[in-house]
């Protein structure tokens, strides 16, 4: 016979909220109810699931470190139920309350019967935070090259003739061929090449392919996203991209393939951007970004992919503005690299990101060189601002003369940060250590990056201070009714998902990446490489990755929410609006961050 209050409570508690009335009634029949008074110690190794009904319970580690606080709807004991291993934590009642003890057999029965409940507790235990929900179907907006490219490779050798090429094209019903020599891609040949380079020049049908092909073509990895291919094609005004798999050519992607796969793809925005002839035109394009973001969200595009797309659009706007600037100012007087820092560099830009950019120049920025790039920076940065990417309040922009430097100038600046680090300087400078080239010379950029990484890998004092800076902020301890519970036991309304979550992970991962000399700047990419190189434990890497994805996802959803209500987009989450599931996930994410911080502290902040 069920007690209405018990079943009602279970019906409102994740993950039991998925059960129907009959199942809830059955479950409640296996519950014992106990009342704890403040100061009581809870016997936790009882092989039952503890469900907090009312009151507050504090969990301490065997070293008496405050681990977390449990409140209504929180669980304990699933660890032991799942693994059979006891632990030495202590759980103390802080505010009088009722707990439900669910018998082990009923817990296991429930897990066995309801896959989602099993998954919930497994993930709660193993901190595999993502994928509580069923995996969504691959969205067409996040298609990868491998999803649409023809699984056949049509290739010809360079010494074969134009006629043979034409015949192969007709026979295979394709408009382009890969040209391979000893299984190595050396060029591509399109039907347009046959027309404009052979027929138009009255060359004979026996002309060798090698004479008329396009040499050293652009190519793209088959695991890249489709919109990256669109970006690359638009930028270079090409319609054919050889596709590679681990460096080996495996097929051809054409503009037609892309159009066929997604007629109304909003990421055509990128193509449109590359066709604009004025800043005003770009501004019009950029007005579609918010609508695009909402579409992406409706299509359940994961936050990190959405961040990637938003960044790609910012890249495209930047590239086009640089092109337009050059149309206005003439050819640049020397080679340059347009750099992005921070989130644009890491490819995890959000909708409220501001500009963080700079110029790396081949020559010293004096005289006409200085004037030219000052004008270029002005044009591009103001243009980006017009397109809705706010000017950087900290003046980290190419318009700042201190951020238009030669390779020597930049190298010297990084050398100073690294050789004589001060905590205050590093707090401000850490953003500079995530950098990526957006337009211009890759070689120049690579030289700078090599130079930086060579220094950081051998600079324990620098890493010490960088780690200290990364440890300045901590993740909150958990949730407490309508408050966020801070490490110092205080309560605070509102959770800044960026400052108290995402940035903490970015900062930690940067320390490791600079220590290991990893070129990748994307946080997820860094984590993968750090695990692959054995710098950090692969489980820790996976946990941080999951926590990062979860926080990014919540921020992305918060931004969508703000957009739809036409609010200003902010990172501040109201704890009263956090769902039961998100609360469990967030708590675990914070625990992952706290653990990772203490590892960084042990590794980089010991006495030097």
């Amino acid at each position: 016979m069920e007690i209405a209050d018990v079943t009602k409570f279970l019906a409102e508690t994740t993950p039991f909220d998925q059960l129907d009335g009959a199942a809830l009634g059955q479950l409640s029949a296996h519950i014992n109810v106990y009342y704890y008074q403040a100061q009581d110690s809870v016997k936790i190794n009882t092989d039952r699931l503890l469900i907090v009904r009312t009151g507050i319970f504090t969990l301490y580690s065997d070293q008496q470190q405050l681990l977390t606080k449990l409140q209504s709807g929180d669980f304990y004991g699933y660890q032991q139920l799942l693994t059979g291993l006891t632990d030495s934590d202590t759980l103390i009642c802080e505010e009088d309350g009722l707990v439900y003890w669910l018998a082990a057999e009923a817990f296991h029965q429930c897990r066995y019967q309801y896959k989602n409940i099993d998954i919930f507790f497994q993930r709660l235990f193993s901190r595999r935070l993502h994928q509580y929900r069923e995996q969504q179907q691959a969205s067409r907006f996040t298609l990868k090259i491998s999803d649409i490219v023809q699984q056949r490779k049509i290739a010809i050798r360079p010494e074969q003739t134009a006629q043979e090429a034409a015949k192969l094209m007709s026979d295979s019903r394709v408009s382009s061929l890969l040209v391979e020599e000893n299984s190595k891609l050396v060029g591509i040949l399109t039907d347009r090449d046959l027309r404009s380079r052979v027929l138009a020049h009255a060359l004979p049908a026996s002309t060798q392919v090698s004479q008329v092909m396009t040499r050293q073509p652009q190519s793209i990895d088959r695991h890249a996203y489709l919109y990256e291919a669109v970006q690359q094609m638009s930028q270079h005004n090409i319609h054919h991209l050889p596709v590679t798999d681990q460096g080996v050519c495996c097929g051809m992607l054409t503009a037609t393939d892309i159009i066929r796969s997604q007629q109304d793809h909003p990421v055509y925005l990128i193509g449109e951007i590359h066709r604009q002839l004025s800043t005003d035109g770009l501004e019009r394009c950029s007005q579609q970004i918010a609508a695009l973001a909402i579409t992406l969200s409706k299509q359940q595009v994961p936050a990190y992919e959405a961040g990637h797309i938003i960044t790609t659009i910012t890249d495209a706007l930047t590239q086009r503005l640089i092109y337009l600037a050059q149309q206005k100012l003439g050819e640049p007087p020397c080679v340059f690299s347009w750099l992005a820092f921070g989130s644009q560099a890491r490819m995890d830009q959000s909708l409220n990101a501001d500009q963080d950019n700079a110029l790396l120049l081949e020559k010293e920025p004096v005289g006409t060189v200085g004037e030219y790039f000052s004008a270029l920076a002005e044009f591009v940065c103001l243009g980006l601002a017009q397109c809705g990417i706010a000017l950087c309040p900290g003046n980290i922009m190419a318009t700042n003369p201190e951020l238009r430097l030669s390779l020597k100038g930049w190298s010297g600046r990084f050398a100073r940060w690294i050789a004589t680090p001060t905590p205050e300087a590093l707090l401000k400078a850490s953003i500079f250590f995530d950098l990526r080239v957006i337009e211009g010379s890759k070689g120049l950029f690579n030289a700078l990056q090599e130079d930086i990484l060579q220094r950081t890998t051998e600079a324990p004092l620098f890493l010490y201070h960088l780690a200290q800076a990364a440890l300045q902020r901590t993740a909150p301890l958990g949730f407490f009714k309508n408050f966020i519970l801070e490490q110092d036991g205080k309560h605070k309304k509102g959770l800044d998902l960026k400052k108290r979550g995402i940035s903490l992970i970015t900062d930690l991962v940067r320390v490791y990446a600079l220590y290991a000399g990893i070129h990748e700047v994307n946080t997820r990419g860094r984590l993968q490489q750090l695990a692959a190189q054995g710098i950090i434990d692969s489980k820790d890497s996976q946990n941080l990755n999951d926590a990062f994805d979860l926080l990014a996802q919540l921020r992305w959803e918060k931004h969508q929410h703000d957009l739809q209500l036409s609010h200003d987009v902010t990172n501040l989450l109201n704890p009263a609006e956090i769902s039961g599931l998100a609360r469990h996930q967030l708590k675990d994410s914070f625990a992952v961050i706290n653990e990772a911080q203490s590892r960084v502290k042990q590794r980089f902040c010991r006495e030097l």
């Binding site: 016979m1 069920e2 007690i3 209405a4 209050d5 018990v6 409570f9 409640s28 029949a29 296996h30 519950i31 014992n32 109810v33 106990y34 009342y35 704890y36 008074q37 009581d40 009904r53 009312t54 009151g55 009088d96 309350g97 009722l98 003890w101």
Partner: protein, 220 residues
Amino acid sequence: MLSWLLRKSTALSEVVNHFINTPFPASSTPVDQANFLALDLELTGLNPRKDHIVSIGWVPVRGQEIVLSEAKHYLINSPVSVGQSAVYHGLHDHQLKNAHDLAEILSELLAQYAGYIFVAHNSRLDEQCLRFACQRCFGKAPRFRFIDTMQMEWQRLLRQGKVVKHDALKLPNCLKRHGLPAMANHQALEDAYSSALLLLSQLKLGGNTMTLSDLYLLSR
């Protein structure tokens, strides 16, 4: 499960004898080792001699844990109409058509919970009703050992020097005072569960050394 008991009318009085012959725990027993049964009756009126039981709900408390797997709620065949009492317990005559025989339910109660200390909120009426009901069904009634969560609450408030208004002792108000979740009132099982919750809190307030004799004193 009790069919053997119901086969003969003599067997029925066996149940009473079993209950009578099962000793209650010694009054020196610490409260956390005693077994309790929180119960509540809904009646056709307030006169135990004349009025009838409409429903009964109970839930045991062992080792200070409320054992929900044994929570029971039965509707009882009443020889008279529930009449105006339906206003309180919400049970109407048509709902009682498939109800149980009082003797059957009382047998289950006495057989299963011999040696248990019964708990009710304002237990006097429930105790008298149970005794009359046993008398009617079995020809004799055992002595029950009851403790009263309302009396305990009254004494507790008096000791704190508070002026106790009558309303303050109603079950929902007691739950609220103890920070316990509010329940639907006047359903036998919900009320039994509520008084069980109240008991848990009262036992905790009594401290670790409390024995049954302390409890009897408090509940007088």
